[in-house]
Structure formats: C-alpha cells, structure tokens
Symmetry: C2
Subunit: 461 residues, 2 copies
Amino acid sequence: MLSKLIDPQSVAVIGASAKQGSVGYVILENLVNRFQGSVYPVNPKYDEAELWGRKLKFYKSILEIQEAVDVAVIATPAPTVPKVLEEAGRKGVSAAIIISSGFAEAGNAELENWVRAVARQYGIRVLGPNCIGIYNAYSNFDTVFLPADRAGRPPPGPLALISQSGAVAAAIMDWAARRRLGLGFMANYGNKADVTEIELLEAFANDDRVKVITVYIEGFKYFGEARRFLETARKVAVKKPIVAYKAGRGSAAQRAVRSHTAAMAGTYEMYHGLFKQAGIIEASSVREMFDMAKALATQPIPRGRRVLVVSDSGGMGIQAVDALESLGLEVPEVPESIAKELKRELLPFAAVSNPIDVTGSATDEHYKIVIDMLLPTAFFDMALIVTLMQVPGLTKNLSEYIIDAKKYGKPIAVVNFGGSELVQKFEEALEDNGIPVYPTPDRAAKALWALYKYGEIRRRL
Amino acid sequence: MLSKLIDPQSVAVIGASAKQGSVGYVILENLVNRFQGSVYPVNPKYDEAELWGRKLKFYKSILEIQEAVDVAVIATPAPTVPKVLEEAGRKGVSAAIIISSGFAEAGNAELENWVRAVARQYGIRVLGPNCIGIYNAYSNFDTVFLPADRAGRPPPGPLALISQSGAVAAAIMDWAARRRLGLGFMANYGNKADVTEIELLEAFANDDRVKVITVYIEGFKYFGEARRFLETARKVAVKKPIVAYKAGRGSAAQRAVRSHTAAMAGTYEMYHGLFKQAGIIEASSVREMFDMAKALATQPIPRGRRVLVVSDSGGMGIQAVDALESLGLEVPEVPESIAKELKRELLPFAAVSNPIDVTGSATDEHYKIVIDMLLPTAFFDMALIVTLMQVPGLTKNLSEYIIDAKKYGKPIAVVNFGGSELVQKFEEALEDNGIPVYPTPDRAAKALWALYKYGEIRRRL
C-alpha cells in the first residue's frame, strides 16, 4: 500500500531550488544525480537551470508535468503546502512527502489539519510534515536534505530503520555508511499527519529485501496508537525480527519527549511491557539496536541457549562468559571424551573446557580444530569466537575457517579488537561474508542473546 | 622502588635473537630502534649480527657487559632462567623481566620457586615470568614481543594500564594506538613470582606523568593479597583515580579464571565490595574503563551531580537524559528567568528547558549562547553536549567554542556520532584539546558519572 511512497518510479520535487545549500537544492541534487527513476523539478521561479553539468527543465506547477508522477516531495514554506498538495492530488500522485516544517510542532495544528483534509480528499498518502522522509539505498530515492559529505548514505542491505527523529536517523545513516552496514531503507515520519510508524512497519514487513526492522521511537500520542502498534508488531514479528529502542525513560527525559515530539512518553515500564507482548526485541541504545540487527539479518536462529566460546586470550574468553551468563545464556563444559581429544590436538597449555583458550601461541588451525570438532555436535547451539589478532600466529586465513563454519547452520559472532590493518582486513572479510564482528565481548554476547530471544518470540507467537 | 623496572636507562636482552619473528628478535628490534636508553643483546650463539642496517655486538653473557645495566629482559627457555637470572644478579641489575613461559602456569612451580629464591638472594625485583612485561611510551622501553604492525604502540599520555592478561593488554594497546589515546604505560605481571599489581599500583601512583591508573584483573590468589590490594588502593585513590575492570563474574567464568591464571576468582560480589571500599571506580567492560579514564584524565571534579544537556537533536538529548538519570545524575530544569532570555536568543522552536534542544537548524553560535549563559551559573555542575554534525548549520568552529568553555572549570563530555570527514576532524580538535568525545550518549553519561563518583570517593577517603 505504501510501496509507491518507498519505491517510486517518478518524483516531482516541489520547491526544487537552484540556490546552493538550500533544502530544495540538496534534495534535487541527490535525486538528479543518483535516483534511478525520473525527477521533475517544480518551482515557478525558474524556467530551467544549469546544474551539475546538465540543463534541467523546471515546471511552474506539478500540473504541467506530462508524465505520471508517483510521489511529490514538498519543500515549500508551510503556508503554501495545502495548495501545492491539492495540485499534486489533481495530478494524481499516490503519495507526498512533506519536508517543510512549521505545522503542529510549531503550534500550527490548524494548518496541519488542512493538509490532512486535502490528503484525504485526493487519497494521497502523506509522510510528514516536518520530516527528512525516505532513504532507499536500492533505487537511491532519497529525500534527506543533508548533503552526502555531512550525512553519508549507507549501502543497500537487509536492515530498515523507522525513526521518530530525523537528526538521529541522519546520524545513524552517516555511521552506517562509514561501517558499510547495509541499511537499505530509512523512513522518518515527522508529525505523522497521515502515515504512521505502524504502516511503515507493515510496508517493511512486506518487502522481501528487508530482513530486520529497527525502530527508534520516543513515544506515542495516545494509548490507542500504542495498542495498534502492538497488534501490528505481533503479526510482523512472526515474519521478521523487529528491534526497537525507546528513548526517554526517566522523568526529565519524559519532559524532553513532550517538548520534542509532543508525544505521550508514558512510563518506561509501559513501553517495556508493550514491546515484550508485541514480540519486539528491546535495545537499550541505538548502537545496541544495530549490533543485534546485524546478527539477526545474517545468522540463523539457534535451537537453544548453549554457547561455545573460543578465544586466544583467556582474559577475553572470561569477559565473554561474564557477558553471556549475565544475559541468561549458558556456557556448558565440553564433554570429557571430546575434551581429551581436543587436548591432543591443541597446544599443551590450551584450556579445553568451555571457554576454550587456544592461547596466545595459537595458529589459525587451532581455531579450525576447535570449531570443527565442537560446533557441529549436539552440545552447542551457537559460537562466540574471540580473535585477538595481535598474537603472532594468526593470519587473515582464519576468516576463511570461520566463514566455512557457516555450514553447520549455527549462529556465529566474532569479537575482534584493535586497530592494525590486519585487524581491519580480517573484519571486512568476515562481515562481507555474513559473519557479524563486534569490538567487545559484551556486544557480541548481546547479539547472540537477540538471536536466542527471537527464537523464543517465534515459538511463542 | 620499581622506578628502574619501568624507566630504565640501560637494558640487557638475554635471549636476544637474529632469527626474524622470534620473541628475542622482536624485543631486540623494538628496543634497538626506538628505546632512548642503551641496549645490550646477550646470546652466546652470536658474536655480532647485521640487523636493521647496523652491526650489533652480542654478548656471551650479561657479565661480559662493561657498562651498568638497570634491567635484564629474559627470553630464554624456562629451564635456563635461574642461571641467567643469577648472572644478572652478579652483574648487579635492579630488576628483571622474565618473558619466558613454562613455570607455575605449566605445572612447574618448583622452577618458579627457584627463580624467586635467586631473585631474593641478589635483591633483584622480578616481573613475570610468563608475561609481556612493560611498555613505556615516554622512553619507548618496550618488552612487548608482538611486532608493531600487529599490536600498535599508543602515544605518551596520562593513562597507565596494569593488566593481569598479556593478550588483553596488547589488544588494548593496539586499540589505543589507533585512537591516539595517550596510554603512557602498560605493565603485565604474568605469574607474579615477585612484583605484584599492588607494587605496580604504588609505582604509578608515584609517577607524576600518570593521571589515571586502569586495572584489568581476573582475580587474586588468596584473601591476604586482596586485603593488601585494598589497603594500597585506598591510599592511591586519594591521589589519583583508579578504574578497574574485574573479568570473571559468573560460575563458568570463574571456572575459566581458575584455568587461566590459577587465581582465586572469588564471588563477583566480593570484588565489587572490595573495589567500593578501596575507592576504586568499577567498570563493567574494558571499553567502559577507558571511556571513564579518558574523562578522569582531562576533566576537573564536579561539585555536584547536576548536568546541563545541550543537543541539536531532541532525540539524542532524550537519550542522554535517560542515561544520566539511570546513573543517579540529575538534569534539573533551567530557572525560568534564564529560560526566557534563552528563548529570545535561540531559534523559535528550540527547547529551552534542560535538555536544551537547539534544533537541527542550529548554528555554532547557538551552542555558544547556551554554554556561556548556563554553564558558569550555580545551577549546573557539568555539561553533556551532543553535536550531530550532520545538520547543515554546524562547522568545525564549534569545537573552539566548546574548548573555550573549559574556562568555567566544569567537566564537559561531547557526544558525536557519524563517519564523515567533518565528524572526524571535529572530534580530533576536541580530543587534542582535552575534551573527551564519545559516540553514544550512554558512554558520555558514564564518563561524567565517573567524575562525580571520583569526587565522592575523594571526599570519603
């Protein structure tokens, strides 16, 4: 239903501008240079303009465009929006994204009601106003009005983000771009005069390119909304994981939420309970949300909670166990018969009970032996592998052994820490091949916990 | 007392080797090429060797060296260690670092006792065996036997690390080097046949270049040791902050600790109580330890717990408040008279109660106005400043306004998130000028908490 909004073939930019740095300029620049569909600049001030080495025709009104237009992106001053939206309605667009601010968030609820009325009259689905809109990494449909050198654009990939905050969404995109994290879609809904997070959730649920949906939320406006969100999420969570972070927990935070999005922050406990009922995996920070999402997008669901821990550092192995146990996961001992066999294959001082310590003198092959001997057995459901690549015997080949272990069909998370080129190359090889890497044991443990948790949710719903 | 061990003028490398990649080779390479003192290779197999473009004289024994030697670094096979240590004693060294393994950790407690007896007889202080020894970023005295391309060497700076795990210490060094974090000293004590973490704590307490001591510990061997550690730490904590991370909390983790360092892991609660009594700030991960240490090394102690939060993203401001409140810090409202004045100076939609939201349309000057109007007042003890640099109006100049705010003598932590060049340049400018930067609000909040906590500890002890 919202597929045209997220995945249009043709777009009119109303309020497109030739004035460098303006909102209408940045949106036009991004679309003209990278969007795979058709772009029609609309602004009565221009007939045409020479931009980015080409001559662009400008339209006086969206009604002048001959071709069909799927989406109108509106970046004109607030008071003009009802009129241009009406024109878009007469043109027959499916959806509009209103970037402009100056509506309910600025005390102009009347103007927003008017926009809503126009949208209903013409059957236009409206995202916004007061939003940064949509980013679609597949078609480069992109209404984020921040230049790419300020806010990077992430590569296509299995994650989608629904964000109540535009600035937080832009910062997440920038961060994901740097880390080459596949964030295929971002949607920011601003004042949600029409389209809500609930419908966006449904839209991403129905898009096969999306494997995991992440949600940044500050609060709902009223309880009915929260209830409908819960009902929708329960249906979606059976199909694919939803990970959410609720900002605004304490009292000062709730005061800020009211001021920021006029949302009913509710008690944090209410949201916590709601997420639980809805089968949503709750994150305690934005970073943790993506740590978990990365694993959920690439790893299978484990059968149980028993984790094999392998490390070349006793200390890091212990940290991993700390983190896993505190999350309710188990680190069972290795059965004695296998431990004896391992003892023969590894170095004399290696620890062969779980956590396995291959020691700082280990080679790539020692990891391979442990993984191949233990991970396929019925004693372990998943693996947390710590590879401090600072020790002398390890090479980038180790990444191939770990990638090869995907054949056992059990989740794997790797902890890798440091800054050398070897460390970076090793990490890239793993992540490019669907093995999530984390800089600390607690983050990897939380990612494995999310996989276990999602398995529980699937069984329950 | 241990100053010669950490800061020697002259070093003999016993077991120095011309065989590329060997432990004795890497240690010699690091010392010959970077150490600011004198280096004497000792190995009866060589008369001299052409290494790194120069001719190096090798000594048959440490006794052949004419000049005074402060420290003997020993990397010969375990069974030979008592003999070479005895020679070092006869030569009159103050201290020895025994890198070699194959002692108590491998079941050879007898051999370790023998080493201890020799050390006592000659009054040599011994670090190790089974350790990576010392890294001193000021003189480049460096016995870490991992090449610099695997394990980076951090720049000089106010932090010192005492680590029970060598591999964890090497990974921390590599990570700190990448982030240009000033880790001036690292000491890893291995089996602690003689020198303990307690004496290292005293040594760093007495070294004026060290502002904050970080401790990675898995466990003590017996209760008396824990008690002495507590007594020493109480004395040190009055002078400078100690931040510690205890690895090994749950039962499987404790099993692993026993196997890794033969330490008495104790219940985690015991350590928690011990740290509290000792005035040690406890971290829940290695990363958090350095997040807190970075702030403790650069920021003043706050007078109270009231935090001013400024953000260009309502969402991030809310996350910051969440994190601060959950740690027991306060985010008080701005007094009405000041709020009114602020309202006139900021953008119409800015939120002027704490957290202050300068909005995504803010300029550098808006931050300056807020900081200069509020931070010097008696209403706030410290500031958490969120700068999402993705928004269009901010420039690198903002870093200068924040650095300038140091004149108010109150702690500041900045949250900055993303990946663009602007983000990185901005961060470097701040960190190079003593303002700690964190990628997420919860990490910055924890750092401010550590400052508050240290103030409490100082008042209590």
